[in-house]
């Protein structure tokens, strides 16, 4: 069993993981207090606060001003409002996808690992099929088949990522399956369901669960890519990937001032980078702690 206090101390001592924790906490605060940080304006054009307010319809982005702290992007969408509410979208996508994927992974992975035999073979061959596709390409195909939307992006990402979790959890269960305490509870007459839920899972999957939760960064990165490609959120929805794609036509300014629209490109991308970086910093530190081969050195 992993000692949680030991782990927490290790994480807090490592400057990189500490940095990661701080970044994630700041983003969580932004997401929770989005309505206070960037309140929807009076008479917002849309009752849905996730739709970014726009200041006119002109295509040309406007530089940062008192009214628009980060400026506006193509179509006069307010960048500040977009990135703040986009934080909520990011958390939402990350948490939902990881939640679904872990749930499927636990169910199928423990069935395959615990019972073995034909069931294991069938489940593993199904994961083979899903893993035969490059993930983003399969996600693209799924989204274009069921129609672009934030929900479709979440479904597609869950479909392409569950197999790796099922495999990891199957491996974890396989490792504990032959342990004495499993044998003992079976001997006491416990049902398979009880053995899996009460004995096998709790002893097997915590490291996998921790790693999975830290994959939120990777999920958000993939979702942003799909959104950037125009396969995600509807136009005007607060989403970092889409905000970046708005800037595509404005990477080169007029002659003599070629970096004129820097804010439209740079700011939404920086939010994605920092968010993903936070999770990856934490994940990297965790991997080192969990890897016994490296710990001994």
């Amino acid at each position: 069993m992993t000692d949680w206090r030991f782990m927490a101390r290790q994480l807090a001592r490592n400057p990189m993981s500490l940095m990661g924790i701080i970044i994630i906490v700041v983003f969580a605060i932004i997401a929770i207090f989005a309505p206070l940080i960037a309140p929807p304006p009076e008479g917002h054009w849309n009752p849905n606060p996730y739709m970014i307010p726009r200041d006119g319809y002109s295509a040309t982005p406007q530089p940062p001003s008192e009214e628009h702290v980060f400026g506006t992007t193509e179509g006069q969408y307010d960048i500040f409002y977009g990135v703040i509410w986009g934080t909520r979208t990011a958390f939402q996508i990350g948490l939902v996808v990881i939640g679904i994927v872990v749930a499927i992974g636990i169910v199928l992975g423990s069935l395959a690992g615990y019972f073995g035999g034909v069931l294991d073979e069938v489940i593993m061959r199904i994961t083979d099929i899903f893993l035969a596709f490059p993930a983003l390409i399969l996600a693209m195909a799924i989204v274009s088949a069921i129609g672009p939307s934030v929900r479709s992006v979440m479904i597609a990402l869950a479909v392409v990522s569950w197999p790796s979790y099922a495999r990891l959890i199957r491996g974890d269960i396989l490792q504990v399956r032959e342990e004495d305490y499993i044998e003992a509870s079976r001997g006491l007459g416990a049902s398979s369901g009880r053995v899996i839920l009460r004995h096998a899972l709790p002893n097997a999957i915590y490291p996998t669960l921790v790693m999975a939760s830290l994959d939120i960064g990777a999920v958000v990165l993939a979702a942003a890519a799909l959104s950037f490609l125009g396969l995600g959120a509807p136009e005007g929805y607060a989403d970092w990937g889409q905000l970046t794609s708005f800037a595509r036509n404005w990477i080169v300014g007029p002659p003599g001032d070629s970096l004129k629209y820097w804010y439209a490109v740079t700011i939404p991308g920086l939010f994605i980078l920092l968010f993903v970086l936070g999770w990856n910093l934490l994940g990297d530190a965790f991997r080192d702690i969990l890897d016994p081969r490296l710990a001994r050195r």
Partner: protein, 348 residues
């Protein structure tokens, strides 16, 4: 002998996976009605009047099993439907756009592997030194970079700020005319290679100028990935008994690191070439889209964006088949490098 049995076993295992892959793609087409599926085969507007005939021809109103059989038969004969975006059959479109993408891969792959291996093993050899921390920070930032954003920033600087120094697309208009002229023979449709074969300096330089930014964009994220893997693999290998032996023999540290540790640490990196293929396949979609570089990834994006389902599914199927084959080759190579795998009888 053992190896041959292993290869045969693996080839047999391919059959259910490939069948499953086709079944999965076929399943996605089932989101659409027979009429919508018939339009995937329509090559021009006049044919729209004949939709019932197409449904009849491809058996799109038959029971599922029959439909799958008919569809699979068509796929095996290379009929993946009609690509509206490319205005040609999907299978032709794949071959049409593939050389451009291969050109990116030819430049990016060696770059990624060499830099990744060098940085990773250097970091491991100097564990916990400033070099190690530095490369780790660079790797983790690189790993977190949104590819599409990196591409845009590179364009902003090298195309915008430095006035068209490294432009998007594949060739400038003038050079495009040269390439398409009668004197220029297109052996491979890979511009840089064709330019060398035609001994045409200007075309070569122009093609190179267009390819630098996409290659950098494709490489950075993957360099970070290989580097991370190489570092931990190298750390593991440095902790082995034979390293202690080598050191005890009084070998120079450089020889220990380069000859003993690195060679053994390379084994997991070979397996990763499979992942690298997938990473590049995913990466070219975004990279080619940003740089308006008309390869297979650009075509896939255009198709997905314009809901040209036949192309998107054809592209996905093509990639899956290729990916499965790449993994097969990797596993076979792996048994040659690491005999332990053969003894175990299975690769997990």
């Amino acid at each position: 002998m053992e190896l041959r049995a292993y290869i045969i076993r693996r080839l047999l295992l391919l059959i259910p996976v490939l069948l499953g892959v086709t079944l999965f793609i076929f399943g996605i087409t089932m989101f659409f009605s027979p009429i919508q599926r018939a339009t995937l085969y329509v090559t021009n507007l006049r044919q729209l009047a004949n939709l019932p005939a197409i449904i009849e021809q491809y058996g799109l109103d038959q029971p599922l099993v029959v439909q799958y059989g008919t569809w699979l038969g068509q796929v095996l004969r290379g009929n993946l439907g009609w690509s509206n975006v490319a205005n040609m059959p999907v299978s032709e479109a794949i071959w049409h756009f593939l050389p451009a993408t291969l050109e990116l891969a030819i430049f990016a792959t060696p770059l990624i592997i060499l830099i990744g291996i060098f940085l990773g093993s250097t970091a491991a050899a100097h564990k916990d030194s400033p070099v190690d921390h530095g490369t780790r920070v660079v790797a983790i930032v690189g790993w977190s970079l949104p590819t599409f954003w990196l591409g845009l920033i590179l364009l902003m600087v090298f195309y915008g700020y430095f006035r068209g120094f490294l432009p998007p697309s594949r060739l400038s208009i003038q050079m495009d005319m040269v390439v398409n002229s009668a004197e220029f023979i297109r052996y491979t449709h890979i511009n840089t290679i064709d330019a060398i074969l035609n001994l045409n300096g200007p075309v070569f330089l122009d093609a190179l100028r267009h390819i630098i930014l996409p290659v950098i964009t494709l490489s950075i994220v993957n360099v970070a990935f290989i580097m991370r893997l190489m570092r931990s693999s190298m750390l593991e290998s440095l902790g082995k008994g034979y390293i202690l032996t080598a050191r005890a023999k009084g070998l120079a540290e450089k020889v220990v690191v380069n000859k003993h540790a690195r060679r053994n640490a390379l084994i997991p990196v070979i397996t990763v070439s499979g992942y690298l293929f997938a990473a590049l396949a995913n990466g070219v979609v975004i990279t080619e889209t940003i740089f308006n570089y008309k390869g297979i990834g650009w075509w896939a994006w255009q198709s997905a964006f314009r809901l040209d389902i036949a192309s998107v599914l054809g592209f996905a199927l093509f990639n899956a088949v290729l990916f499965v084959l790449v993994n097969l080759v990797v596993d076979i190579l792996y048994t040659r490098v690491d005999p332990r795998v053969r003894l175990g009888g299975s690769v997990q």
